[in-house]
Amino acid sequence: MAGVNTSTDIGHEMGLHTEPLKGRDIKTMFSLENEGGFAYAFAPDVDFNKRGSVDCEGKEATEINGEIRELIKSGHGTVVLDNPGAKHSIIVGILHRMNFIVNGSLGYFGCGLLDGPMVRISGRVGWSFGENMMAGVCVVEKNAGSTFGAAIRGGDLVCKGSVGSRTGIDQKGGTILVGGDTGAFSGFMMQRGRMVVCGNAGKNLGDSMYDGTIYVGGEIKDLGVDAVPADLTDLDKAWLTRKLTQYEMMPKSGVDHFTKIVAGKQLWSYDNLEPSEKKLVL
């Protein structure tokens, strides 16, 4: 991996976490100073202005993903997918910065294991969209299925419509933004990051969350175990305003009415764990 060092300070400086860690710390961080910047050593050299396209009509996922990789190899930094037809497992394992434009809808497990690309989807997406995303931006213009953004660690995952159940289950970082409603068990076992739901949230919101923050603009059916309301600070409002404006999702009524939900931290005594134990949990 290029451009990586093991400094223990950068993470704190970047605001990734705030609690004091004791004992052994084994995290590795990308260095801003190194020439490689935030890229992997094996990242291909692509030109964002070089645009290629894939017509997904009549093709299996393996064939479509293969064509995408061929375009990347030949330096295309922007790939357009036409007629995706709600097929599963499209645009997966892309570990560098580039652009995707999807004209249509994706099926299950779309945009999984991403680390860097920017994806814009004009249709809807199925279950487990954006699973395990590390970095980048995905914007879905319509609705999304359940387990939207499961276990993401970074980046912005945006759905302008409504999403299914268990949104952000096991979320470990990053930001999930939902323009409409979310279903039951959203934020289940959330560990880090932020989730914003402009509409209503289903039952057991934030159930068993260790950490992280959930903001809800509408009604919450009920809270899960150890999820508790917290004061919405000016900093929260400023952040919400910036994020929602950035993706053109700012409610006409503003953000003052949002409810903030955090972990009560009575369930697992998470903050008392040693870093190595936290690593196991995460």
Binding site: G104, S105, G107, R124, N143, G145, S165, G183, A184, G202
Partner: protein
């Protein structure tokens, strides 16, 4: 895993047989063991369609003299129908072991069903004025081709592709399940019912019959029992979410309705498309896109959501 699908046309008939075949074929990867259809054609006054089988597909390979035995069982069914005063106006051998009869009968359907199923190896797949229930081993195109569903026109239907996890790979355990002994009611299910045996024993004590060990059959019995008590389909589906434990999404059809229920965990998928002309829903959007190839707006129903649509 299993895949389920359903559709209902709100403004008249369509080629439901071909549409359901396309939808279920798109879900083949969710369950390769068997495929089943419950599709609804134009009901005729005082006429019922009886579909039954007298053997399993696998029997054809293993049993000695099975062909002779099938003929004997079919003759026994014919004799029973004659004894009960059932008038058979059409007979069709869908396969060597599965049959479709058009009948006229004004007696008690439970009596008819019980007498037919008293015959060794005989099982009624469905009775209804519009319902045609077809299920067999193989994917959707195989079953549809074998039973000639390509030309079937009707208003609505449900279907199922099965990955056997709870019971055997045979027609008996395949979906849909007809809601014995009530006309025109069928069920398909994706999930696991965890209080299956408890509820099954309760129903059996009340005199209900089960032909398989598949937990999904419980839903058919449950729905039939509650409709018989006078509940509406919507009331029945809502009640089922409270009384049936487990993770499930299931679809129910009556002669003019399509219903959907999702459990309280929302653990099993369902994608819904709704327009002025039709409603289509399936475990995956690819099934809906198999009959509506252009871009559409779809969404996932939420936990404990119940919907009922009229044909």
């Amino acid at each position: 895993m299993c895949g389920i699908a359903g559709l209902i046309h709100r403004k008249g008939k369509s080629n439901v047989g071909q549409e359901m075949t396309s939808m279920l074929q798109a879900l083949k990867h969710r369950g390769p063991d068997s495929t089943g259809f419950a599709i609804y054609g134009e009901p005729e006054k005082n006429t019922f369609i009886l579909r039954f089988k007298v053997a399993e597909q696998e029997d054809l390979d293993g049993a000695l003299k099975i062909h002779e035995e099938i003929r004997r069982r079919k003759d026994a069914v014919n004799q029973t129908l004659k004894t009960l005063g059932v008038k058979v106006s059409e007979l069709e051998d869908a396969t060597e072991y599965a049959f479709r009869y058009v009948i006229q009968y004004d007696g008690d359907m439970k009596v008819l069903a019980d007498h037919v199923e008293d015959i060794d190896g005989a099982e009624i797949l469905s009775i209804g004025s519009g319902l045609e229930l077809i299920k067999d081993l193989g994917d959707a195109s195989v079953v549809s081709g074998a039973y000639g569903l390509g030309d079937f026109t009707g208003t609505h239907g449900i279907g199922h592709t099965r990955m056997a996890t709870e019971s055997d790979v045979d027609i008996r355990s395949a979906h849909p399940y007809w809601a014995y002994p009530y006309n025109d009611i069928a069920v398909v299910h994706n999930g696991q019912i965890t209080n299956y045996w408890l509820m099954r024993r309760q129903f059996e004590r009340e005199g209900q019959r089960f032909v398989s060990n598949c937990d999904s059959e419980l839903l058919a019995v449950y729905v039939a029992t509650h409709l018989e008590k006078g509940h509406t389909l919507e009331e029945t589906l809502k009640k089922s979410i409270d009384e049936i434990d487990g993770v499930f999404t299931y679809l129910v059809t009556t002669k003019d309705e399509l219903g959907m229920a999702k459990d309280s965990m929302a653990a099993k998928p369902m994608v819904l498309y709704e327009s002025d002309d039709m409603v289509a829903l399936a475990s995956e959007e690819v099934a809906i896109r198999a009959i509506i190839p252009h871009e559409i707006d779809t969404w996932d129903p939420y936990d404990e959501e119940v919907r009922v649509w009229q044909a």
